[in-house]
């Protein structure tokens, strides 16, 4: 034992026994404060702090409130390293997980509150992931202060790392399930007793039996009041504390009024009790929220899966030895060893070794990319062949892939206009509802004081604006999850809404309608050798070449068909040559062999590349290589046309190449040799004519057009720039998905519309009936729940 505090380094006074398990060992602490802080660090998965720290912290002895001390830790630069980035001088940006978000109003509340803090330059809260992106000026405010402000609002904020969010989510889900179970079990029992009580009113029941049943119901309702319904109280309290209104305020009020009134009746031994209404109301509300939350979480999984492709551990080379360390501990400048078959843990550049790497994670291109010393590699890509020694340039939040995730995150934070409108309406609605309840209570008190309690309760319960505020998010979440199932990733919220208005689809050609790489299109035999033999010879010769054309030969034949080649020779810019079975063959363009015939080969499409295979005396075959249409491109275009869309091809390629593709697809509206700025100009012209344009593209050159179009879709195989600027990513690269996405957009708007009509119609109808006292509270609970369930179930039809 060292006798010093592991946390602050001060001597441990004798007779003191505080300790925390850090890095698998029990460490002594000098005081309760240090123990609490160290435990907080460990619990938050930030143990790496102890390895990174370069100076000991102040002893935690004199700081008093434990919660606040915990937050101060996040100001430590060593700890911040894992989740904070510095976009500009003095500016810092962090992703935070917000715990306790139950509805869109909470998001708004946090955003608003943080935005008005001096020094906070930007706050975006993502409703679907409960993540917040905060940017602040480090000269004016520090992170702990921001976190504290969040805590003052009644939420908890944690810095984000992927693993931790998963845990938080899992815990919340389990808690929700437990609450639903408690409410459900209690409701079943209480309903049973309620039936006995109602039946007793008709057929006669002894007062003592009635009392017994009431007390039993009371006891059975207690778990709901004390456990299951807590989220409503918390959310309502939060709203009231900040002087705002959300739908949990009337919910809580209704629960308290119903329970309090019933309690009073039970004690008095007379009147009607509403324990059944309390349980049912809580159960249905919890269930609808649970369903809605589940739908939302599903649609975020894809984005997070990207992050998980980065491994958690890496092999660091240090002082001539190898050491397996968590990726979080890597620093820029470290050397790591990546063995074949391993994923690369961090962005970096190769210092030693040569291999090829699968970067399909970012590019969608599954063909290996050769890597040698001096070449950059990306975290998450897969090392295929030989060991690589990599010098780290970026870890964690500073990697290319984390950057993309942040873009996705930001994109998802944008709410569809309809959802924003619904939030605002629901907010006003709540005020109106409370006023109405008060007026009703007053009115009935004047008319018939005995009924005040029951009628007011009915009004509060029946008008709960849940259906209204669920209408848009439920449909949106269900549509997102359906699209994702089909391989369509929605990255911006407004896209769904705009999709339903699209009447013109513009395609890029290369890489979008076509694969963007040459395929063996046609083999023209010029001598007596069969085509398959010619192809086998050609492919064998190409084994020595790294030219992109070589790959198209190699994938056109079975690996077993390759022949041994002697004296293989590669002439860059011309072709390849070699001896197979004693005969010398050449494969390349006209300049390579003197035997290539003059003139064009019949039947070869325009824009195709022709390669000649010759032996020592004569030409054997001509191969036409051309970019190929994606398999279902024609079907996709036909579907779009059938749906009444205009279809246009906007390409940077030459006129014959564009014509060739357009003729195959039956597209008449063509633009060729377009530079990115030309493409944008064409797009703007369409838009000025009042058309709503969906742009489908894949390349860097498409990025401006994608950003300019009302809705943009990028091929999953496209460049990450294209994917970042687009609203929708077609992960399966199936062009038919374009019309599927458009269809889902139209359907989801239809469903949202139905939901709004239903929610508003239900309230318009139910409120007057309730106000005049024709709805008993139990029926009100059923009505309100059914209206919410109808909205959610209607939305689930989208999936």
């Amino acid at each position: 034992m060292t006798g010093n505090c592991f946390h602050c380094g001060e001597p441990v006074p004798s007779g003191i026994d505080y300790s925390v398990v850090i890095q698998g060992e029990k460490r002594d602490m000098c005081c309760l404060g240090c123990e609490a802080v160290a435990q907080a660090i460990v619990d938050n998965g930030l143990e790496a702090y102890y390895q990174h720290r370069t100076a000991l912290p102040q002893s935690a002895r004199d700081l008093i409130p434990e919660e606040l001390r915990k937050l101060d830790l996040y100001n430590h630069p060593e700890i911040q390293k894992s989740f904070v980035i510095t976009p500009a001088e003095h500016l810092k940006q962090a992703s935070l997980i917000l715990e306790g978000i139950t509805c869109a109003a909470c998001v708004w509340l946090n955003e608003r509150h943080l935005q008005q803090l001096p020094g906070v330059t930007d706050v975006m809260v993502n409703y679907s992931t409960h993540r917040a992106r905060v940017t602040w000026d480090e000269r004016e405010i520090d992170l702990a202060r921001i976190l504290r402000e969040v805590q003052l609002l009644g939420y908890n904020a944690y810095p984000f790392n992927a693993k931790q969010q998963e845990d938080v989510r899992k815990k919340e889900r389990q808690r929700d399930l437990r609450r639903i179970a408690v409410a459900g079990i209690s409701m079943m029992q209480v309903m049973m007793l309620a039936v006995a009580l109602y039946a007793g009113d008709y057929s006669g029941i002894e007062a003592s039996t009635k009392d017994l049943l009431r007390y039993a119901s009371l006891v059975l309702t207690l778990p709901v009041m004390l456990y299951a319904a807590i989220p409503f109280y918390k959310s309502a309290w939060r709203a009231l504390q900040s002087g705002r209104m959300n739908m949990d305020v009337p919910v809580t009020l209704a629960i308290f009024v119903a329970f309090g009134g019933s309690l009073w009746m039970t004690a008095k031994g007379a009147g009607v009790v509403y324990y059944d209404a309390v349980c049912m109301f809580s159960l249905f509300l919890l269930t609808t929220r649970f369903l809605e939350r589940n739908a939302r979480e599903k649609s975020t999984e894809a984005a997070e899966n990207l992050l998980r492709m980065v491994p958690a551990m890496a092999t660091r080379l240090q002082d001539g030895g190898q050491q397996v360390v968590p990726v979080m501990e890597l620093e820029a400048g470290d050397l790591i060893l990546v063995k074949p078959g391993e994923s690369i843990a961090a962005d970096g550049s190769v210092t030693e070794g040569a291999s090829s790497v699968d970067e399909s994670l970012l590019t969608g291109e599954s063909r290996p990319v050769p890597k040698e010393a001096g070449v950059a590699v990306i975290a998450g890509s897969l090392n295929l062949e030989g060991p690589l020694q990599v010098q780290v340039t970026g870890v964690g939040e500073n990697t290319v892939i984390a950057g993309i995730i942040r873009m996705l995150d930001r994109a998802q934070a944008e709410k569809p206009r309809l959802a924003q409108l619904a939030d605002r309406v629901a907010g006003h609605f709540t005020y109106g509802l409370l006023a109405l309840a008060a007026v009703t209570a007053l009115g009935w008190w004047l008319v018939d004081p005995a009924k005040v309690f029951a009628v007011t309760l009915s009004v509060l319960v029946v008008t709960c604006p849940c259906a209204l505020s669920l209408a848009a998010p439920a449909a949106f979440a269900a549509a997102g999850s359906r699209l994702l199932k089909q391989g369509i990733l929605l990255t911006r919220g407004h896209a769904l809404e705009t999709l339903s208005h699209v009447n013109h689809v513009v395609f890029d050609k290369t890489g979008t309608l076509t694969f963007g790489k040459p395929f063996l299109h046609q083999t023209v035999v010029l001598a007596d050798l069969p085509a398959s033999r010619c192809l086998a010879i050609a492919a064998s010769l190409e084994q020595a070449s790294e030219h992109p054309l070589a790959a198209s030969f190699l994938c056109a034949v079975e690996p077993g068909a390759l022949l041994p080649v002697e004296q293989a020779q590669n002439t860059p810019g011309k072709g390849v040559a070699g001896i197979i079975g004693g005969v010398r063959y050449t494969l390349g363009n006209r300049q390579l062999s003197p035997h290539t015939p003059e003139g064009d080969v019949a039947g070869v499409p325009e824009g195709a590349t022709v390669v000649w295979l010759c032996d020592e005396t004569r030409p054997l075959a001509a191969f036409a290589l051309a970019d190929e249409l994606r398999p279902r491109a024609r079907e996709a275009v036909e579907q779009l046309k059938a749906a009444g869309m205009r279809v246009t091809i906007l390409s940077g390629d030459s006129r014959p190449a564009v014509n060739y593709i357009a003729a195959q697809l039956g597209v008449e509206s063509l633009y060729w040799e377009q530079r990115p700025e030309d493409k944008l100009a064409v797009l703007k012209r369409f838009q000025q004519e009042g058309e709503v344009v969906a742009m489908v593209g894949d390349g860097v050159n498409d990025a401006p057009v994608l950003a300019g179009a009302q809705v943009s879709m990028a091929m999953g195989s496209g460049t990450d720039v294209a994917r970042a600027t687009s609203d929708i990513v077609l992960l399966t690269q199936n062009l038919v998905d374009v019309s599927r996405a458009l269809e889902t957009g139209r359907e989801s708007i239809k469903i949202m519309g139905q939901n709004f009509v239903w929610a508003i119609g239900y309230n318009a109808l139910a409120v007057p009936i309730a106000v005049f006292g024709y709805i008993p509270p139990w029926l009100a609970a059923i009505g309100m729940s059914v209206s919410s369930l109808v909205v959610v179930v209607n939305a689930l039809r989208l999936r």
Binding site: S366, F519, T732
Partner: protein, 61 residues
């Protein structure tokens, strides 16, 4: 009348507590983590070698 009711109600409380604890245990042991997986998993055979492998060509995803 009340006597038998008290007897039955105590049984109810017992069952309620038992059911609640059972459900809590199920949640804690992760039975609700994945509602779709187990249904799918039962359909997957373990006789892997019997399934013919298809080789993907370049560009086919």
């Amino acid at each position: 009348m009340d006597g038998i009711l008290i007897y039955l109600l105590s049984i109810t409380f017992f069952i309620v507590i038992f059911a609640g604890l059972g459900f809590f245990w199920a949640v804690r042991s992760g039975q609700f983590e994945d509602m779709e997986g187990p249904a799918q998993r039962i359909l997957m055979d373990d006789d892997d070698p019997m399934i013919p492998r298809r080789r993907l060509k370049d560009g086919e995803n």
